[in-house]
């Protein structure tokens, strides 16, 4: 069942992105930035975690979850260390996405030749 919901919710978030491309005529950079900010704000109101429980990867795979997990890590650490935790905990939860992008980017640059 969670597979169906992840398909529907993930697809729906992508449609929102597509509408921002086509109707608002935003660049991909603007669209993705807005989606990330949206994810961060949704977590601030505690709305993103229920969505992850409900849709699984449908909520964790779109870029909105990047904003969500940044806030999540910051708040987690802030609970323990107060205000300074907001800075020290920022990448606590979301380290893997950026780490993977950097590592695989480097590996890709070593092994692959640019196309066209």
């Amino acid at each position: 069942m969670v597979f169906l919901w992840s398909f529907l919710v993930g697809g729906l978030i992508c449609v929102i992105g597509q509408l921002m491309f086509d109707i608002l005529k935003l660049t991909p950079g603007h669209t993705l930035s807005i989606l990330v900010v949206t994810g961060a704000i949704l977590n601030g109101f505690g709305l993103y975690e229920p969505l992850i429980d409900f849709a699984g990867a449908g909520a964790t795979v779109p870029i909105t979850s990047f904003g969500n997990s940044l806030v999540h890590g910051a708040l987690q650490e802030a609970e323990k260390h107060g205000l300074i935790g907001v800075v020290t905990g920022m990448f606590e939860v979301t380290s893997s996405g950026i780490t993977a992008a950097i590592i695989f980017g480097m590996i890709g640059a070593i092994f692959f030749k640019p196309k066209g």
């Binding site: 992840s6 992105g17 597509q18 990867a57 795979v61 870029i63 708040l75 980017g105 640019p114």
Partner: protein, 155 residues
């Protein structure tokens, strides 16, 4: 008697608007829905695998899933497949985390000819940098406000 530059500019704008191709919005949305949903379903498959064979929960499994998806993106980007899919999937491949990975990896591969320090290192986050900037900054603001409100006992 020549026209002022501002008139020609507005005229050009009008002409460009008239000649601009109408975007097939419905078709684009269906494609984005299908491919975006498909990537998330693949992600769910990977997540289920990690939850079943390793010690992850629904909330923590996003981390290894993201890394695995970016690894797959590297292969697809490197072999030039990702761009072909992205051409008709639109936001369906841009919005999932694979789009973030593709932006980083394709920039790294493309600028390799300029060397590893100036080229790969300097351009890796050329496209993805704004996502990180606005993600981190907005997360900082949101977390700051929430922490302050919690400490003051407002919420």
């Amino acid at each position: 008697m020549d026209k002022s530059p501002s008139t020609t500019k507005t005229q050009y704008k009008k002409l460009a608007q008239k000649k601009e191709l109408k975007r097939p919005i419905l078709k684009n949305c269906i494609n984005a829905f299908f491919f975006g949903g498909l990537i998330c379903t693949i992600g769910q498959g990977i997540a289920t695998f990690y939850m079943y064979f390793f010690d992850f929960t629904e909330q923590t499994v996003g981390n290894p899933t993201t890394a695995t998806l970016i690894f797959i993106t590297m292969l697809l980007t490197g072999f030039g497949v990702y761009d072909h899919i992205a051409q008709f999937a639109g936001a369906g491949t841009a919005v999932p985390v694979t789009g973030f990975g593709n932006a980083v990896i394709s920039a790294a591969i493309e600028h390799r000819s300029e060397g590893f320090v100036q080229g790969v290192g300097g351009n890796m986050f050329k496209l993805a940098g704004s996502v990180i900037l606005f993600g981190v900054f907005s997360a900082f603001i949101v977390a700051l406000i929430k922490t302050l409100l919690l400490e003051w006992g407002v919420i």
